[in-house]
């Protein structure tokens, strides 16, 4: 009896502590060593159709060897502050494991010195919002050590908008209307039949 109680207590306590053991890298501890630029055909882009061209590389004015620890580069599509208003699920947090600013991965590939370019077709599940692009440099343990983004520190310049697909199809619209009409009509049909059998039983 006491043993099971102790075991249950131990499980609960361990459960409480498990949150603390995840690596807590904070955003402000990262160095801004990468330079990222994004070019796009127009200001309002369409998900699933338009492409953006992303260029990233180490800031050339930094001493050589700054990027010796960088093993992987992760480029992500991130929400601009205006698209985070009243949406706690896109909130920017200091600790990277809790941060929800960047939710779409553009590419994750091994790091090479020199500038890289990528043309990326915006995926169809990207929602309507205003975005910027950020690149994280990861070390051998897959931890972020540096970053760069195509906008300024306040995230106000060089933003671009993406318009999502609606997800609707004509066939869905037609099916909805037909089934709805069927429901109402069948109800009226039932009433009609009931009244008729009621009248017959009375006669």
């Amino acid at each position: 009896m006491a043993a099971t109680g102790l075991l249950l207590g131990l499980i609960l306590v361990l459960g409480c502590f498990s949150e603390i053991c995840v690596a807590t890298i904070s955003f402000s501890s990262l160095q801004t060593t990468l330079v990222v630029t994004v070019s796009h055909p127009r200001r309002l882009l369409r998900a699933g159709e338009d492409k953006i061209t992303v260029r990233w590389g180490l800031n050339q004015s930094l001493p050589a060897g700054t990027d010796s620890a960088y093993k992987t580069i992760k480029v992500q599509l991130c929400y601009a502050p205006i698209s985070q208003v009243d949406r706690a699920w896109r909130k920017t947090e200091e600790h990277l494991s809790k941060d929800k600013t960047c939710q779409f991965k553009i590419v994750k590939m091994p790091y090479t010195t020199g500038n890289q370019t990528l043309e990326w077709t915006i995926e169809r599940d990207v929602p309507t919002a205003t975005y910027f692009v950020r690149a994280y440099a990861l070390d051998a343990n897959d931890h972020e050590v540096a970053y760069g983004q195509n906008t300024d520190a306040k995230k106000t310049t060089n933003l671009f908008e993406i318009q999502a697909i609606s997800g609707r199809h004509v066939s869905l619209d037609i099916a909805s209307v037909c089934f709805s009409v069927f429901s109402i009509v069948s109800l009226m049909g039932f009433f009609f039949v009931e009244k008729r059998t009621g009248r017959k039983a009375q006669q």
């Binding site: 949150e19 169809r124 099916a175 109800l187």
Partner: protein, 506 residues
Amino acid sequence: MEISSTITETEPQKFALPVDSEHKATEFHLFSSAAPHMRAFHLSWISFFSCFVSTFAAPPLLPIIRDNLNLTATDIGNAGVASVSGAVFARIAMGTACDLFGPRLASASLILLTAPAVYFTSIASSPISFLLVRFFTGFSLATFVSAQFWMSSMFSGPVVGTANGVAAGWGNLGGGATQLIMPLVFSLIRDIGAVKFTAWRIAFFIPALFQTLSAFAILIFGQDLPDGNYQRLQNSGNKQKDKFSRVFYHGITNYRGWILALTYGYCFGVELTVDNIIAEYFYDRFNLKLHTAGIIAASFGLANIVSRPAGGVLSDMMAKRFGMRGRLWALWAVQTLGGVFCIILGQVGSLTASIVVMIVFSVFVQAACGLTFGVVPFVSRRSLGVISGMTGGGGNVGAVLTQLIFFKGSKYSKETGITLMGVMIVCCTLPIFLIYFPQWGGMFCGPSSEKIATEEDYYLSEWSSKEQGKGLHQASLKFADNSRSERGRRVHSQTLPSNATPSANV
């Protein structure tokens, strides 16, 4: 008290279950579907389940829908409020409709009239259209009233708490089942090849079709009363058609109905609120995957499979020993404990502890719902539908208020909102102290000793002497006699007074 043949002039009826003088079953056999009693039970819980599935089909998919329709937290909160506010008046209207037209037609009509709202959810394209479809879909929750009314018409005092508890509990299960069903259907459709923003739309056809089919089943297989349908009984003169204004008046002037409406708002209303917010709460706070959050959220609603029926069974057990006073004490105690666990839920910060506390909280809150409807059938006989509707509507008002105050926009974090909701539960359960039946007593007072108060006095007070002269009160008289079991163990030691003489006709 077991009569198995009828005295109407139509055809002699034999029932599969033992019945009382009103032909209501005195036993509840869960695994039978014998007409009319158990069949009515299965039809009512399944149709109510389908309405719950439809009303809460959106919350588990909100992480997808909020991106597709560009919703803000305020939009989501508003839609959540809308989803439960429609049913406030729909439930009261449904109560009256049941009194006048019978539960079969009333519930089937409502279900078929709200099915289009579920179909149209598939084509929602903005925050406003999303709010509108959730609003109209929410009307279908009024089937709760018809389900309870139907059970109270089919099952007698000693088992009415159990019948109401199981029917409502298994119906409420829909709120939990949908948190499992919708993410599953969504992933299936997405894996077949549809893109995310289309897959959720197709998924909504499942609850809509289920709802439509359940309405058909009620119309084809159900009947209002053990003796038949309202229309046929009214045509053959076996049931008097009552006046809407009198039914409504006697319902809303009974203060017990209002108190139960308030307290039900803080067990059932809380349950609806949690159905709306819990999946997003786990998804966002603990960074879980969509379908993991759905499974955890589902376990809240799934507890209904036993906890609400347990409330009903507990109510009947307490009544057997302590009568109506036992029912009231059990209701207050269980609901207050539910509030305490709600406060704790908002305070715990780890995933495991949250899940454990949530499950305990759900058991207490749902049992309180079952206990409430152990009391409701006795508040009024003439206006049973209106009282059921008021109580049920009060449940939704509680959900609307709670979501408006604590879960709209970004004013409180969800965890703070949950704690404050727990405090409100404890406070709003206190009015149960004020419920008093002259013939049975209340929580702190025994039955009235000033005059000999009887069940007949209480139920016949709903009929004027003119109406009694016409013999309209016969059903209430039978009910008063059958409800003597609410005295608890005292029923055998007290002689029954004979001051209520029924008029001598039929």
